[in-house]
Symmetry: C2
Subunit: 193 residues, 2 copies
Amino acid sequence: MDSHVSPVPLEKAYRLINHGPTVLVSARHAGMDNVMAAAWACGLDFDPPKLTVILDKVTTTRELIEQSGRFAIQVPTVAQMQLTYTVGNLERAKAPDKLQRAGVQWFDIDGHDLPFVADCSAWLACRLLPEPHHQETYDLFVGEVVGAWADTRAFANGHWNYENAAPEWRSLHYIAGGQFYAIGESLRADPVE
Amino acid sequence: MDSHVSPVPLEKAYRLINHGPTVLVSARHAGMDNVMAAAWACGLDFDPPKLTVILDKVTTTRELIEQSGRFAIQVPTVAQMQLTYTVGNLERAKAPDKLQRAGVQWFDIDGHDLPFVADCSAWLACRLLPEPHHQETYDLFVGEVVGAWADTRAFANGHWNYENAAPEWRSLHYIAGGQFYAIGESLRADPVE
């Protein structure tokens, strides 16, 4: 594992996606690994940390998650914009070489039988909490976060450090038609009592 | 209604929150209006447009939504950071003067019996799709978007225009402890076929 990849305490894991980045969703089943992009992923609870992600019925990644009961959410960087857009726009079933075309490299994290995408800024290992009605009706999947890690060059001591990191570490926020926004300036509100 | 507030076609309404901004959630019931902040709001479907929002059981806004069956989601701006933080941190039940302290100003939109927060960049009127299990278990509420509007100085012709708008129009993306990030630079991926 890359020496910059460091565990994040579970009680702070929600901070990794609280700013609404577009994420990568990966899964493994029966020897197959896949990854897709998702703009619709969102925090759901703090303790234990949970999140939601919307997974269209046509996606191979959804099938792998339904079969294995687990998935990884990762926060891609500005340097990975083209990778993110490519894995979000090619369907594995129609483009079997999708991962090679996107340039996806995997790495392992001990104790978690999941494919993690290298060079992201953060990773969350999730256990599927089955909710058949919401999965079928809304394509909405609920995950409990059971492990979290971040690259210390972008997130350390429980805080994103975008303002001091190199610009290519910033998170991506998708709109439509290939257009993303990078995250910007840090701002701080006055205390409210 | 402010002359800059313009309707957004429903098929493009998802773009108003696709980049994961922190939002304001407002509701009205029996003569009472309230608003709270929510970092956990997310797109759910394109057509008809739907979204999810997490509403803690202690919030007055949740009660108003459960009673009225409708709510508004709005995208606050950098200029509204302190307002956003204040309505997110004060509970109406304990601080009856919350709205005055935050400086909330309301406006009306014809045909929608909802309180809309003035000076935001976008507004989505939503009809609650009752899902009792998810509301009770996860505090997760599903809304169908039945009307959408944006301030044309920030969003026009189906696109955010943060790169040309004044910086105070940018969206807010909350982390924790009063820290937000503003949305940043626009980036465009190459087409993928």
